[in-house]
């Protein structure tokens, strides 16, 4: 694990990259990193996330700045700008049931090729998907998701990169921290090793590549 400045962390991400971004309606999104991507105008990005938040919040800022080419999300209903860009043909929106999205990301991080789920069977979410019967019940084969970078928000990180999350800001963060080539963490608190008790570590240090230093 290396520490990195906010500017260098965003500079490391090339235009056209695929990003996983933690957060649920902006809660648990590494907001400073999003702001820096907007400042550096990193475009043509694909974002995998739960939702596109709302204008001015989290991933909503990337939408408004027109930096995204494609989003893979479960919900866009609270961001009218996403719908506008989608209808104008400027943004590809792949809608995925929320539980399926979480499991596809988990599969990507856990070495699985995909998952079988009953969610979406008999709906338009099943279009183009392979159906697999197990013990007489139909499941959709949903492939794993991985990304070039995971942008993770943590409540607490130690100097090694062990992470803890808080309350509902956890959401997709620990799943995404497993599923990207490069994992970049913005933590609210950075503490000496040992402050986080082993049982309270939610993401173990070895999966974290970069911890953003306090400015």
């Amino acid at each position: 694990m290396k520490t990195i400045s906010l500017q260098d962390a965003a500079a490391m991400i090339p235009a056209g990259a695929t990003l996983m971004v933690g957060g649920f309606m902006g809660v648990g999104t590494p907001e400073p990193l999003v702001d820096e991507l907007v400042r550096q105008q990193k475009g043509d990005l694909t974002v995998i996330a739960n939702d596109t938040a709302a204008p001015g919040i989290g991933i909503g800022k990337l939408i408004t700045a027109k930096l995204l080419r494609r989003v893979i999300v479960s919900h866009i209903g609270l961001n009218p700008e996403t719908q506008k860009q989608m209808l104008a043909g400027d943004l590809q929106v792949d809608l995925v049931p929320q539980g399926t999205l979480a499991e596809r990301i988990r599969a990507g991080g856990f070495g699985l090729g995909g998952i079988l789920t009953a969610t979406g069977v008999g709906t338009i979410a099943a279009e183009g998907k392979q159906t697999v019967a197990v013990d007489g019940r139909d499941y959709l084969l949903e492939p794993a998701l991985r990304a070039d970078f995971a942008l993770v928000h943590a409540f607490i990180a130690d100097y090694l990169g062990n992470l803890g999350y808080v309350l509902t800001a956890r959401n997709f963060n620990p799943l995404m921290a497993m599923a990207a080539e490069t994992v970049v963490v913005q933590a609210e608190n950075i503490v000496p090793v040992g402050v986080i008790a082993p049982d309270h570590v939610m993401t173990p240090a070895p999966v974290v590549d970069y911890l953003i230093a306090k400015g």
Partner: protein, 233 residues
């Protein structure tokens, strides 16, 4: 009493002590206001919380403790938090006793459409497809009609949320179940006649022989059953 409160109060009667329950937005959220006294129900918020409490007092809100709409809430004693895989593992793994969701249409076999209107409203399915596919029991809370048109229909014109039929639909007019895959009128709300329900419903509606009819004389009920497009069970 307004329609939404009536629906929420009726659905609250389906709650049981110790249940794990997920409430959708809109009318379903109101159900939490009518938990019977002395009953303990676990309410899940799919962003990763069991034990969702009321909105925080002024100045006490924490930006990292929110409901599924991103609004700050509190947590009740005994609450737990978890990541999104665990949250949907609870939903998809058969651990969720009940979900209450809003509806745009329900077909006569109980299949729900509630997540998009093509070309008009495409918010994304969020957790709706997982909830309907995975919860032990699914109740739809909705107005019986929209702009005078039935929402219980022969066939959904809107995209389905799941091919798994829901268990119960509660409207301001009636409670409708789907035994044997057929829409069946189980209860009429106070002051509502069977004819009114039938007139506001599209497709076949079976009239349950055990129909609760607080205000309706029996003769009218039988006549309705015989003249309706449905047939008795």
């Amino acid at each position: 009493m307004d329609a939404q409160t009536l629906i929420a109060q009726r659905i609250a009667q389906e709650l049981r002590d110790g249940m794990l329950v997920n409430l959708g937005i809109g009318i379903p959220t109101l159900v939490a206001n009518f938990v019977p006294k002395g009953m303990h129900v676990f309410f899940q918020s799919e962003n990763g919380l069991i034990g969702t409490g009321p909105v925080a007092d002024p100045g006490m809100a924490l930006p990292w403790l929110t409901d599924a709409g991103g609004k700050p809430v509190t947590a009740l004693p005994g609450a737990s938090t978890f990541d999104s895989a665990m949250s949907f593992g609870l939903i998809r793994g058969g651990h969720l006793d009940l979900t209450v969701l809003g509806g745009l249409q329900v077909d006569q076999h109980g299949r729900l459409a509630n997540w998009m209107v093509p070309g008009k409203m495409v918010p994304g399915m969020g957790g709706a497809m997982d909830l309907v596919a995975g919860a032990k029991r699914v109740i739809v809370a909705m107005q019986h009609t929209a702009k005078g048109r039935p929402k219980i229909v022969r066939e959904c014109s809107l995209p389905l949320t799941s091919d798994r039929p829901v268990d119960l639909v509660v409207t301001e007019l009636a409670v409708i179940g789907f035994p044997h895959g057929r829409a069946t009128l189980l209860e009429t709300m106070d002051g509502v006649t069977v004819e009114e329900v039938v007139a506001a419903t599209e497709g076949d509606l079976v009239i349950s022989p055990e129909l609760s009819e607080p205000t309706l004389p029996k003769a009218t009920s039988k006549a309705a059953a015989m003249t309706s497009i449905g047939e008795p069970l």
